[in-house]
């Protein structure tokens, strides 16, 4: 996972890029990374373009992240949600939890 930071604007969205795999093998590192992003307190765009594999552990982590974002009032958007992610969300019933808050869609447009 990499971050493309735009230092210019303090409130410019951070782009969080997910790798190809988001499974139990990866979640320990991913969790540390996501905590780092959360602490930046900036809107986030989660770029899952490359994501190919995701399992329950990965989906659960992303769900926990989404809930944390909501609780902190941090705006985030998925860009995009590839098929693997969509299927995981559907099968695990995580659709409601992982929805981007409407306001965030604006930053997506801005990014």
């Amino acid at each position: 996972m990499t971050t493309e930071d735009t230092p210019a604007a303090a409130n410019a969205p951070r782009r969080v890029v997910l790798g190809t795999s988001c499974t139990i093998e990866d979640v320990a590192q991913l969790r540390t990374d996501l905590i780092g992003h959360l602490e930046a307190n900036r809107p986030m765009i989660i770029d899952a373009t490359r994501l190919e594999r995701i399992d329950t552990a990965g989906a659960q982590l992303l769900a926990a992240f989404a809930i944390d974002c909501l609780e902190r009032g941090t705006a985030f958007a998925w860009k995009p949600r590839p098929a693997a992610l969509e299927e995981a969300i559907r099968l695990l019933g995580l659709g409601a939890l992982m929805q981007s808050p409407g306001a965030v869609l604006d930053i997506e447009g801005a990014a």
Binding site: I24, V27, A28, L30, R31, L34, I35, L38, I54, D55, T56, A57, A59, Q60, L61, A63, A64, F65, I67, D68, E71, E87, A88, R90, L91, L92, G93, L94, L97
Partner: protein, 718 residues
């Protein structure tokens, strides 16, 4: 996907045959009463593996039988019964029956079903006795038909109500579910294949990222699944998952005003269910703990006896013997090409000839190494043959009421596969003979002050490019006088001929010679020692017997390491070149005319050499070729020996000594008396390889014929 399981049958038969050998050998290593843990584990594993395979490949009968055996073995393994002679007998007979069953399947042969059933009943009786009034045999495996469904041994399922539509499933993962590689996502995906599914997640337990253990599942789910009529379909998906998750499957609701399941907090009580406990995991009973009757391996060292070598299980691949022989053949041809090059080099001069010669020297050494490695591929330890003896000695000594202990040493000595296959029967014959005629009865041994149990020692070792296999017994030894009398009676030796003891003992290898006074069931079945000797000689070996009255006898078999190469002496007769195996050459000499005796009336010429008279064979006469000379003192005499008999072979000239490659391993035996095979020489010519034992016996039979004629003539005259 349709897969034809028949393609694995051959492999299954082969490995099962090997597994049964292991089982038998291990059984025979068990000394009465004490079963080593390793031994019973090995036997159990083997039976288990045959059971699994036969069930998988659809051999229901074998699966059922091995299952019964396995149940018995499990009782032994857990220390509930020991192996008394009765169990030992049942198990050994079971090995035989399993062999029968396997070959009946393999070769589509009829099977004595009644014998199988009877033995199985006997085993079951032992099981029933030892597991008390209520035997709880493990369920027998059902052989699967390809494509059929698995009978899941799950808990009783609530019968699906008629018209049932939606199953409600509560799924609460335990701590280890994810860490062990299970994934609700995949499970739900499988469930969703069964019918339309709706999923509700309960994320109440999900902590913030900072407190989250990412390898643990905090989410719970309530699923509703429309579709499958049978509970089994659900059980199959969950199967082991029940161990790591709390799964509640409620009887399907008819009509579907679905009341959303109330989200449950961690640790809240599960609502009482009307259905019996549906979780498969709960049905699993812990296995009874075994009493410690099975000896732990550590106690072995205390026994004082050297630990027996475990049957070696090594990493290997299977290669067909044809492929290996093809390889050997090609290497053989390479060797010929190489020696052809070396021969060309002999007369070569020039600035680079020395370098070329050096290079060829390297090539020659490397070729030899390559050839040796390739030959080694065909080599197998003689234990493959020895292994059949513990059982045989046990059965035979029981039958004859004798006590016999078998000792085996040098089992790891390796032999060419063909030699190995052909040496089995002669060895069986020799061991039978030793038990039947050599070892005395218990009383007989007591009288002469020997221990009650006789010993038969099978020994194998390398000696100077040969393999020696010995069968040594501590029985009564051979009866010199009786053999002598018999030999005279049969006209094998002249009435006044005096022989050394060794020569006398070796007379028993003569055709038709048998001194056993009564034909016993054991060894007197017409196959004599002459057949043993012939078989061994056909392998390029020889056999000798040594005996010591009251102390026993030793039969010593000498076998070539391999049938494919031979250290030979090239000899020339006229324009022909022959190869004499170096192993049989004693010396080569030039002789003087006055050393020769012609026996009156006989065709033989004899050479007097150091108090010995050695018959002379003129090779050019035998093979009807034109020699440089027919005068004995112009040529050379190569003295050869086999079985203690010597002969002088008259040739024109000695040529090089070299290793020759015998072409066509399996077929090139014995097309001609006196010839054991052929080889190609460096210059491309074919040379015949002389069969020394064959030549000697050819010569002897001619002599005997001449002697008989002589005697007939004398009688006629009288």
């Amino acid at each position: 996907m349709t897969i034809d399981l028949a393609q694995f049958h051959e492999m299954f038969f082969q490995e099962s045959a090997e597994a049964l050998d292991t089982m038998e050998q291990t059984l025979l290593q068990i000394t009465e009463g004490t079963v080593e843990k390793e031994q019973i584990d090995t036997i159990f594993r083997v039976a288990h593996s045959i059971k699994g395979g036969s069930a998988t490949f659809g051999f229901t009968g074998i699966a059922s039988f091995t299952h019964t055996i396995e149940t018995l073995l499990d009782l032994v393994r857990t220390g509930r019964i020991g192996i008394t002679p009765n169990e030992m007998d049942l198990l050994l007979r079971s090995v035989d029956v399993m062999r029968e069953m396997l070959s009946a399947e393999q070769y589509k042969r009829p099977l004595d079903e009644q014998a199988v059933a009877d033995l199985q009943d006997s085993v079951k009786a032992v099981i029933a006795r030892s597991s008390g009034a209520a035997p709880t045999p493990v369920p027998a495996p059902a052989a699967v038909e390809p494509g059929s469904s698995v009978p899941v041994p799950a808990a009783p399922a609530p019968a699906a109500a008629p018209g049932a539509e939606r199953w409600r499933i509560g799924f609460r993962p335990g701590e280890n579910l994810l860490a062990r590689g299970n994934d609700p996502l995949r499970i739900f995906r499988e469930l969703s294949r069964l019918g339309e599914m709706s999923v509700r997640v309960d994320a109440a337990g999900l902590p913030p990222l900072a407190q989250l253990d990412p390898h643990r599942c905090y989410l719970n789910w309530n699923l509703e699944l429309a579709g499958p009529r049978e509970r089994e379909a659900l059980d199959q998906v969950f199967d082991w998952i029940g161990d790591d998750a709390d799964i509640r499957i409620d009887a399907p609701v008819i009509d579907a005003p679905v009341t959303p399941a109330a989200p449950r907090a961690e640790g809240s009580a599960v609502a009482p269910k009307p259905a019996p406990e549906p979780m498969p995991a709960a049905a699993a009973q812990p296995a009874p703990v075994a009493p410690a009757a099975v000896k732990a391996p550590e106690t072995r060292a205390a026994g004082g006896e050297a630990p027996k070598a475990a049957p070696s299980e090594s990493t290997s691949i299977r290669v067909s013997i044809e492929k290996i022989d093809e390889l050997i053949n090609t290497v053989g041809e390479l060797v010929i090409t190489q020696s052809m090059l070396s021969q060309l080099m002999v007369n070569m001069d020039g600035p680079q000839s020395e370098e070329l010669r050096n290079g060829l020297g390297h090539l020659e050494r490397q070729m030899r190494a390559l050839q040796e490695s390739v030959m080694r591929v065909r080599m197998l330890p003689i234990s493959f043959v020895f292994n059949r003896f513990p059982r045989m000695v046990r059965d035979l000594s029981q039958k004859l009421g004798k006590k016999v202990e078998l000792r085996m040493t040098g089992e790891q000595t390796e032999l060419d596969k063909t030699v190995l296959e052909k040496i089995g029967d002669p060895l069986v014959h020799l061991v039978r003979n030793s038990i039947d005629h050599g070892i005395e009865t218990v009383e007989g041994r007591r009288v002469v002050g020997k221990p009650e149990a006789g010993t038969i020692h099978l020994n194998a070792y390398h000696k100077g490019g040969n393999i020696i296999v010995e069968v040594i017994d501590d029985g009564a030894g051979l009866n010199r006088e009786r053999i002598l009398a018999k030999a005279r009676e049969r006209g094998l030796i002249g009435p006044d001929e005096e022989l050394s003891d060794d020569r006398i003992y070796n007379l028993i290898f003569q055709p038709g010679f048998s001194t056993a006074e009564q034909v016993t069931d054991v060894s007197g079945r017409g196959v004599g020692m002459d057949v043993v000797r012939r078989n061994i000689m056909e392998l390029g070996g020889n056999v000798q017997i040594f005996s010591n009255a009251d102390h026993g006898s030793t039969v010593r078999i000498r076998l070539p390491l391999t049938l494919a190469i031979l250290d030979g002496q090239l000899v020339r007769v006229g324009r022909e070149v022959y190869v004499i195996p170096l192993v049989s050459i004693v010396e080569t000499i030039q002789i003087r005319r006055e050393q020769i005796n012609s026996v009156a009336g006989g065709r033989a010429e004899l050479l007097r050499l150091r108090e010995e008279c050695i018959p002379i064979l003129r090779l050019y006469q035998l093979f009807e070729v034109e020699a440089d000379t027919t005068e004995l003192d112009d040529g050379l005499l190569t003295i050869v020996e086999s079985d203690g008999q010597r002969m002088g072979i008259f040739v024109d000239e000695l040529q090089a000594q070299q290793q020759v490659v015998i072409k066509s391993l399996e077929t090139n035996f014995r097309q001609l008396t006196g010839i054991s095979g052929a080889t190609m020489l460096g210059d491309g010519r074919v040379a015949l390889i002389l069969d020394v034992p064959g030549l000697i016996s050819l010569f002897e039979s001619r002599e005997k014929q001449a002697r008989d004629d002589r005697q007939a003539a004398v009688r006629h005259a009288a």
